[in-house]
């Protein structure tokens, strides 16, 4: 039995991408395998680790808990969409480097997405708010302290650049 295919059009990092997908294809597998946007990582595949976090219509969600067919007509931002057009790192990404907010890098795309969503909604978060925002992302290297510092540094730098 061949599986039915469903046509979808999804705006991914500002570009409309059309495809036909089987219903069971997860959004993260479509982004990685079909669009080759491998910045979004696959960790647990059942919604626990947060490595696959993306922005769906501006809100952070787990891309392993959605089927690609459900994203039809919606807007997706992956970690690749956080960089400037010339590929240079965003302030948030650079702050992760500066504060050693990553080691092995597996969780980093998910943490960047969670932090990006936080800073867009709340440009001056408290430490508790940062911890709440990244509470759904597992990291086995950093112990989270440097991640929190990186997000706070990014908030300071972004506030400075707005002044």
């Amino acid at each position: 039995m061949s599986e039915a295919l469903y046509p979808i059009t999804v705006e991914v990092n500002g570009i409309a991408r059309a495809a036909t997908v089987p219903a069971r294809l997860s959004l993260v597998d479509w982004l990685r395998d079909a669009l080759r946007l491998t910045g979004t990582h696959v960790g647990c595949e059942h919604g626990v680790c947060g490595a696959c976090s993306i922005l769906l219509d501006g809100e952070a969600v787990r891309a392993c808990l959605m089927y690609a067919v459900q994203a039809d007509g919606h807007r997706v931002t992956t970690v690749e969409g956080l960089t400037a057009a010339d590929g240079s790192l965003s302030v948030l990404q650079d702050s992760f480097c500066e504060k050693h907010g990553l080691q092995c890098g597996y969780c980093t795309p998910g943490l960047l997405i969670a932090a990006q969503a936080l800073l867009e909604a709340n440009p001056q978060p408290s430490e508790a708010q940062v911890r709440e925002a990244i509470g759904g992302n597992l990291c086995r290297c950093t112990g989270y302290q440097q991640v929190v510092e990186a997000v706070q540094l990014a908030a300071e730098r972004l506030a400075g650049s707005r002044r």
């Binding site: 469903y6 597998d29 059942h46 952070a60």
Partner: protein, 292 residues
């Protein structure tokens, strides 16, 4: 960890969702936020032949703050409720519980109705529904019916929903008394993980501090979230003391039937049930006392 094959239909209206459910019966599942269903399919615990996606039905996303409570569409996202200050003021217990539901990413996608229809006995929203005696509105092709939370939850991951029925909306009652306090707490390995035990309480006091009405519920210690109306009725007319709360908590914990697993023994869960029951009763009363 990939879902088995299935066919997908995006319903544009509740009528269409109901028609699809009638056509496919037991072979179809409704897909709301997917925060429980999708992992279960990835683990192949479920193999529906059809998924009927109700995420694009605008009518299921409404949130209305009404005089006697809050009415939420079944597909309203948890984050929508969390951000609604008027909802938090009208039904504070619902707002308090939402802070314990999963993580930011899962609340952004997870829905009220999905959580209730999934009916995990340790989940937060089913517990609040049970404590507040929320009313659930069910729709099918052949008609609509309304059930209380107590009638809706039948067992672990088991509800009164028939295969062809769609949960359409939930009414979360607000208590009309002027001094109402509420509290929610739980113990989990990490914040946002599944609770070992959760507890919720709501208490209404009169001007002299006498109890007009009280409700207590415990999650994770039975087949469904549990409420204890016979026990809390004993508080009515009293100025409840620490001793009253301790006795009530002991009696409630004695009625629980917690399970044993890797994370916590039955004895530990029963202990938590007693401690957390007393804690939420005390907090709810203190909150009510601060209101004039």
């Amino acid at each position: 960890m990939k879902a088995p094959p299935f066919e997908y239909a995006r319903a544009a209206s509740v009528d269409e969702a109901c028609a699809l459910l009638r056509a496919h019966g037991d072979d179809a599942k409704l897909l709301a936020g997917g925060q429980s269903l999708v992992p279960m399919m990835a683990m192949r615990l479920l193999r529906p032949a059809w998924l009927v996606d109700i995420n694009e039905i605008a009518a299921l996303k409404s949130v209305a703050v009404e005089k006697d409570g809050v009415r939420t569409g079944a597909c309203a996202r948890q984050v929508t409720l969390e951000r609604d200050a008027a909802l938090g003021a009208r039904v504070p217990l619902l707002h308090q519980a939402l802070a314990w539901v999963g993580h930011v990413q899962t609340r952004n996608r997870g829905t009220v109705g999905g959580s209730l229809a999934h009916a995990d006995p340790c989940a937060e929203l089913p517990l609040v529904a049970q404590v507040l005696e929320a009313r659930l509105q069910l729709r099918a092709d052949k008609g609509a019916r309304s059930l209380s939370a107590g009638e809706f939850f039948l067992g672990p991951m088991t509800t009164a929903l028939a295969p062809e029925e769609c949960l359409e909306a939930v009414h979360w009652p607000a208590w009309p008394e002027p001094r109402v306090g509420s509290a929610f707490t739980e113990i989990a390995t990490r914040h946002g993980d599944f609770a070992m035990v959760s507890a919720a309480a709501q208490i209404a006091l009169d001007d002299e501090g006498r109890c007009l009405r009280a409700a207590l519920g415990l999650g994770g210690v039975g087949m469904t979230p549990l409420a204890f109306p016979a026990l809390t009725a004993r508080l009515v007319g009293q100025r409840p003391s620490e001793t009253d709360f301790a006795e009530l908590a002991r009696a409630a914990a004695a009625q629980c039937e917690p399970g044993d697993d890797l994370h916590a023994s039955a004895a530990y869960r029963r202990h938590l049930a007693q401690v957390l029951a007393a804690r939420v009763l005390r907090s709810a009363k203190q909150q009510a006392e601060r209101l004039q």
